[in-house]
């Protein structure tokens, strides 16, 4: 096992036993699954690179790199701009361990010989790496043994590491950016569950966060945003390109979109609304008209409502065509042609009913409702009293306007500190 920090600072000795410089950095060419070492940088400004093919061996004990050639021959090689420099670009930087789903810092890098070439196989993210860099790894180990403990090596295999694009001073990530060069098959973060991605990006700085979002598809970005706190959602959307922001927001429930837009500067919110598809934008605008702390402000307009003229079979077919999201299908609402709420059905009611039976005959008629102007505390009280997963919201004429789900109502009434203590169910 060889570590990057062991080879950094090593003497380079040519075939005639003459000094040919000191190792300042190690370059790799990115390939899957493990990047391959291409050379050793030996000058301070980095213009001299000895190709790895000219290296015969590295002796860790004497910290000497032996060359196959004389030093006169190697000095002509130039650095390849596509290569990544491990000490400069990777060491000490933050990376995402997609296996452990967390943000870690690279304390050292592990290299291993395989099939005649040297590969970058892993990152040391543990205390051992830090102690090694301080030159006291042995001391640490003996100290741990004194307390009857083992000082384990914490290594992450490079094929589950995802470098985060470093936010550059000019903003954005230009081509040739270190992290972009480090990956070839797209972001590994993007393949995680959105809830895990949300946890990871919340640990990152504002610019790195944006860089991660740039690598996500619109659907994944929307799901990830949904898992984040409002404050962070706003910060992500605010600094995103308006076109892309509108595409992502279209994938989110209108009530969440309304919450985010309310917090944005006015011209920015208008710009994003203007870019959204007409139908989605109208839903959001309707919701924006309600006060935040009322049923109208809490509700979503994504719910399932069917005409009262259908049969059980037709209703099931309608649902199949609509492909509703899980959180909308708690209840199926029945409305007349003027959108007046007539009754409610559960999926169970639909499935166990004879196919030809009109839903008018199986629905529950006295539905528990709240009015758009009802306060959030009343809504929460209704949900809790009747043990509901969602409650329909109606206007003065008893027309169905939206639905408040139990998690949205909880979010609104629970103080922040209590929420954090609750297990995440929703």
């Amino acid at each position: 096992m060889l570590f990057l920090t062991e080879i950094l600072g090593a003497e380079v000795i040519d075939v005639r036993q003459r000094r040919a410089g000191t190792v300042r950095d190690v370059t790799v060419r990115v390939q899957e699954p493990y990047p391959v070492v291409t050379g050793l940088v030996t000058s301070r400004r980095g213009e001299l690179v000895i190709p790895w093919s000219r290296v015969r061996s590295f002796a860790a004990a004497t910290r000497e790199v032996a060359l196959r050639t004389s030093r006169e021959e190697v000095e002509h090689y130039q650095a390849d701009p596509r290569d990544v420099w491990l000490a400069r670009d990777v060491l000490d930087k933050q990376v995402v361990d997609t296996d452990g789903r967390r943000v870690v810092r690279v304390n050292d890098l592990q290299l291993a010989e395989s099939g005649g070439s040297m590969l970058l196989v892993g990152a040391d993210i543990g205390l051992r790496g830090i102690l090694r860099r301080l030159g006291i790894e042995g001391v640490g180990k003996s100290l741990a043994r004194l307390f009857g403990r083992d000082l384990p090596m914490v290594l992450v295999s490079w094929d589950v590491v995802d470098p985060i694009a470093q936010g550059t001073a000019e903003g954005g990530a230009p081509p040739g950016d270190d992290a972009v060069r480090l990956r070839i098959s797209g972001s590994r973060i993007a393949k995680l569950h959105p809830a895990d991605i949300a946890d990871i990006v919340e640990e990152l700085g504002a610019k790195e966060r944006r860089a991660v979002f740039d690598t996500l598809t619109e659907e994944v970005a929307a799901d990830t945003l949904e898992e984040m706190e409002l404050e962070d959602q706003v910060s992500v959307i605010e600094h995103m390109d308006a076109e892309r922001a509108s595409d992502i927001l279209e994938e989110m429930p209108p009530d969440e979109v309304a919450d985010i837009l309310t917090e944005l500067p006015e011209d920015r919110a208008q710009q994003i609304l203007g870019l959204m598809e007409k139908e989605e934008a109208e839903d959001v605008q309707e919701l924006l008209a309600y006060e935040e702390d009322t049923a109208g402000g809490l509700m979503t307009t994504e719910y399932v409502a069917v005409p009262d003229s259908l049969t059980a079979q037709e209703t099931i077919e309608t649902l199949r065509r609509m492909e509703p999201e899980a959180e909308q299908i708690y209840y199926v609402f029945v409305v007349d042609p003027e959108e007046h709420l007539q009754g409610v059905l559960s999926l169970r009611d639909l499935i166990v009913a004879p196919p030809e039976k009109p839903i008018r005959d199986i629905m529950i008629r006295n539905v528990v409702t709240v009015r758009v102007e009802d306060g959030q505390k009343e809504v929460a009280a209704v949900l809790s009293k009747y043990n509901l997963l969602a409650v329909p919201v109606v206007d003065q004429e008893y027309r169905l306007q939206g639905v408040v789900t139990v998690d949205d109502a909880l979010d609104a009434v629970l103080p922040e500190s209590v929420k954090r203590k609750l297990p995440r169910v929703f």
Binding site: L91, D92, V104, I125, A206, E416
Partner: protein, 424 residues
């Protein structure tokens, strides 16, 4: 639609104001803690107006250094500890973090000493206050409710505005005040050099630089809004030092020349409180006590917590009060340890509280020199800052601050040598 626009407009004002104008003002104001009050009061009490010129120099330096920290936060989106780690590697980071730990440990001690001294004015013994307050602070942090408390405590800082009234009401000889502000009148003595180091250390506290940059980075302010955060940094520096200026003036008029040298070396909180008498009369003790208590309590929580964030950030360890103890042992260990050390040091029987506070600020001054060198290297690195590297003015001012600190430290060491002509 009109309603929508109304709502958005209402929010926007607050948003821009808090997002951009804020971190600098809040941080520097929070910096008027136990250490600051004691150091400014001592400066006025011991040397009259003769330290005012240093305050002018410090104000310029504070504005420039604050601006550097917030610019680094805006441009990189990272905290100072992150940048130190990525630029200086493990060794450089360990050194910086050890320095910061020492500085923040003595600062936390100073805050608890401030809490103890404030309540002693009301006759509550420190053996009661310190354990209670330490436990309270720890619980507030662990329960994640510190941000709420912070806002309340921050507003207590307003009582220090009374010093401005006091300074004016005490009718100082304004000609002498202005002369001392513009013309350097150093006193060649060990005590003067040491207190000058403390004055710099308390005004430009190392922990504040880390705290400021992190909170700016966290906000994700775009580069175009740099002029706003620059204005914030300058306004914060001027406002904080305006209060400092009047504390020195008020203390100089009320205390300077009235006490024996022996007494000056062993000041009590009650002595400092006299500087508020021209503003509020006999209520000075109450007002001083409340202000000192609020400011000390605020920083007694903020300093350990921000230290825990900074160190774990640098080494990539799990952090955040939302984590479990087993997941983030170092994070919990650091703030708990700092609170414990701070509280226990104050509980040592017979320890002179005010002198402990002054000493802690002097240590902060020493360490500031090292932290500033890190900052200057970082902010001039084009790979990190791109075209937002320091201009010549910022480099001259921040460099001069380091030179001034090193010079004062050298003078102090020279005057501490037995038989030195400056001793005494």
């Amino acid at each position: 639609m009109d309603r929508l626009i109304g709502r958005l407009r209402r929010f926007r004002r607050i948003f821009i104001l808090l997002a951009v104008i804020g971190p600098g003002l809040i941080t520097t104001n929070a910096g008027n803690d136990a250490g600051a009050i004691a150091t400014y009061s001592q400066a006025g009490a011991e040397f009259g107006f003769r330290m005012l010129w240093i305050l002018v120099v410090i104000t310029i330096s504070l504005a420039v250094v604050n601006e550097m920290a917030s610019r680094m936060g805006v441009v990189t989106g990272k905290g100072l500890a992150d940048l130190i780690r990525e630029r200086f590697g493990v060794r450089g980071t360990v050194f910086a973090m050890l320095m910061l730990l020492v500085a923040n440990a003595v600062t936390t001690m100073a805050e608890f000493a401030g809490v103890a001294a404030a309540l002693q004015l009301f006759g509550v013994p420190k053996y009661v206050t310190v354990p209670v307050v330490a436990t309270l602070v720890w619980l507030l942090i662990v329960r994640g409710s510190y941000p709420v408390v912070e806002k309340v405590l921050l507003s207590i800082g307003v009582v220090y505005l009374a010093y401005i009234v006091s300074g004016i009401n005490s009718h100082p000889d304004w000609g002498a005040v202005i002369k001392s502000t513009v013309l350097p009148q150093p006193v060649a003595s060990l005590g003067y050099f040491l207190l000058a180091i403390g004055l710099i250390g308390t005004t430009i506290a190392p922990w504040m630089l880390f705290y400021l940059q992190s909170s700016v980075a966290e906000k994700g302010i775009p580069n175009e809004q740099l002029p706003y955060s620059r204005a914030d940094a300058v306004a914060g520096a001027i406002f904080a030092d305006l209060v400092a200026f009047f504390i020195i003036v008020a203390a100089a008029v009320a205390i300077h020349g009235t006490l024996s040298p022996d007494r000056l070396a062993n000041m009590q909180a009650a002595d400092y409180a006299r500087a508020l008498q021209p503003a509020v009369g006999p209520a000075a003790f109450v007002l001083f006590g409340i202000g000192l208590f609020g400011a000390s309590l605020l920083s007694a929580g903020v300093v350990p917590l921000s230290t825990a964030y900074t160190v774990t950030e640098a080494f990539g360890w799990e952090r955040g009060v939302g984590q479990r103890l087993a997941e983030a042992p170092v994070f919990f260990g650091i703030f708990t340890g700092l609170i414990a050390i701070g509280a226990l040091a104050v509980l040592i029987p017979g320890v002179p509280l005010v002198q402990m506070i002054l000493l802690s600020q002097e240590i902060n001054g020493l360490i500031l020199a090292a932290i500033l060198i890190y900052m200057i290297v970082l902010v001039n690195d084009r790979r990190i800052m791109g075209r937002y590297v320091n201009g010549r003015l910022a480099n001259v001012v921040s460099g001069a601050t380091v030179v001034l600190l090193v010079g004062l430290i050298a003078l102090f060491l020279f005057s501490a040598v037995p038989g030195s002509p400056l001793r005494g």
